[in-house]
Each structure stands twice: as C-alpha cells, then as structure tokens.
Symmetry: C2
Subunit: 196 residues, 2 copies
C-alpha cells in the first residue's frame, strides 16, 4: 500500500512537472508572452530568412519612438551569403553569422539628432526588431559594435557605411535550432516604489 502511494505520488509529480514544462506560462496577453519568450538566439539551422519577414522586422523597428520625431536611423539588411562571410571574416567574434540566414546592422545618424539620442532611439528600434523576430518564429540577438572603434570601422568598410554614421550593432537573424532558452532576469531589488 505504502509503495503504491509512493508510486502514485511520483507519477503525479513527474506528470505535473512535464505539464509545467510543456505549457508556456501566460503573462496576460500575446505581446507580454512574446516579451517573456524572447531570447538571444545564437544557434541557427542555416536556413535563409525571407525578404518578406526582414521587411516586417525593419518596419517594426521604425515604429519606435524617437526624440523630437527626428528618426535618426538607417538599417542595412544583409542576406547575401558572401557579404555575411565578409562580415564574419572582418569581425571573427560574430561567429553566429556562420549559420545565420541574414543580419541587420542598425545605424544611428547623430547628425539628425544628437549622439546620445540617436543611440537611444536606435536601441528602442532594436528591441522592437528583436520582438518582431521572436513573434515571427525566427531568432536573433543584439551583438554590439558601438562603442568599439575597430568593429565600427570594419562594418563601415565592408558595408560602405559613411563615417558620420554609427553602426550600432550586428543582429544575426535566422531559424533557431531550438537550443536557446529565455533567461529569467527579474529581480525584486531592481524595483523601487516611490523612492530609490
């Protein structure tokens, strides 16, 4: 009898655990669910990304707010395998490019705004793009170029980006192989109510 109860308890425990693992948590609405399920995807299948999806991703970027509506941004979308390889050769640390289907380089235009505000506005755009990527079943991540002078210079050379433009990052995009998972980064001590 005791062992039967124990076996039942084990089955219920494992069953409950499997269930919790299979069923994604509902954070209240589909947008919050996408925000919570977004992860930095570094492992891709090697499949191409459609031009239609890339277009949706840059359109999402341009929905972000910008200070004084200056829109101090531009986006280089790379799908050509030869250019992706040239980028990887120029910046070997961007190794996720090897199996990415595409990459987007977000470019800040300080002349249209200020250096600080163009960097912030392009970052706001970047998060829209990362969420768009997640919502389309694709994967990607922000890998920094700014403020590294060498990386920014390499991107300018390979892609023909003008000197007065800040190439902020390289966002490799592709079909996730499923191995990357979201991180839980919530920490209560980072929230201050009414006063620091």
């Amino acid at each position: 009898m005791k062992s039967a109860i124990f076996t039942l308890a084990v089955i219920l425990f494992i069953g409950g655990f499997a269930c919790a693992q299979d069923k994604p948590v509902d954070y209240g609405n589909p947008t919050l669910n996408t925000i919570h399920s977004r992860k930095s995807v570094r492992n891709f299948t090697g499949e191409a990304v459609s031009k239609e999806d890339l277009q949706k991703i840059v359109e999402a970027g341009m929905c972000a707010p910008t200070a004084m509506n200056r829109q101090p941004w531009s986006f280089v979308v790379v799908t050509d395998r030869q250019i992706l390889d040239k980028l990887l050769e120029a910046i070997p640390s961007k190794k996720m490019l090897a199996k990415a289907g595409a990459a987007i380089i977000i470019c800040a235009l300080p002349d249209k705004s200020s250096k600080e505000m163009s960097v912030i506005d392009c970052s706001l755009a970047g998060e829209n793009m990362l969420l768009a990527i997640e919502s389309l079943g694709l994967g990607g991540l922000w890998t920094a170029a700014y403020p590294d002078e060498n990386m920014m210079s390499s991107l300018r050379t390979v892609l023909g980006i003008p000197d007065n433009v800040i190439p902020m990052n390289v966002m490799p995009i592709g079909h996730p192989d499923g191995s990357d998972k979201p991180k839980d980064k919530y920490k209560e001590e980072n929230v201050h109510w009414d006063k620091w």
Copy 2:
C-alpha cells in the same frame, strides 16, 4: 438616375472610408499589431494605474537582453500623487505628469557594465515597457532626462537616486484619453539591402 448613382457612390465611398478607419490593420500577429499601434501618449484621463499593471510593466522591462548579462538597470515606480507633483515642480517640461496615474524612471547602472552599454540596455528595456503599456490598454511615453545634467540632478534630488546612477528618463503612464495616435514613420530610404 445620374444623381441616384452619384448618391450611391458617395454612400459607398463614405461607408468604405469609415470601415477602413474602424478596423485596425492586421500586421500579421498580435505582437506586430502592438508594435504598430504603440504611440506616445501625452493625454491621460487622470485615473490611477494599478500596482499589478505597473509590476507587469517592470517585469517586461527586465526581459530585455543586456550585454554580458550584466543587467545594469533599476526602476523607480512612482504612484504617490505628491511625489508626481514634486517631479513636475522640479521639471516643469514634464507636464504630462499632471494627469498621469504613475511614472517610471529607468535608471542605468554604469558600474555594473559601461556607460554606453548600460544606456543601450536600459533603452531596450524601455521599449519592452512601452509595448507592455500599450498591450495593457494603457498609455505612456519616453521623455528624456539623460543626457541633460539639470534634469538628472532634479530626479536624483526628488527620488534619492545615487550619484553613480543615470536617471535615463521619466515615463509618465496613465489611461489614454484617446486623442493620441500612432505615427507612420516608415521610410524606404532608411533600408539598405546588402550595402549602404
């Protein structure tokens, strides 16, 4: 007969127009729809914002990626009307605070990362929060504090924020009165395929 056809045409035209206005465009999935419908809301009803919603908003913020997973951020959530009024008194340009139900000040912690990366990471978090706000039927906007020394200093004084912390912005949050609409900022010339 001619006038009947004309009347019919007018009715169909007006009817079609009203329809197009009422039915929101579908951008392909609920997250893309939220990204496209997000707007900077400056006009609030004056109603309070629930603590539950504010908690969801900061949780969404902490879902953003951070360089090297440093999480160089902290969030001051103000709901106390007296403190909101003190903020408005200290920085009169933040006039949307008058009818906002709450405000969040995103704080960058350069000591946990670098100045540049903490500013970028906090901006990524900020866009998550703006989309969370939109998805909850609330409204808000990013009003800059950084890099304005006077505004940052006022925020530090009113909220007790330490000197080594960068108060990035003030995000007034509230119930929209419905008058603010999203801007279409898509420009084809901002997209470069494969080369600048």
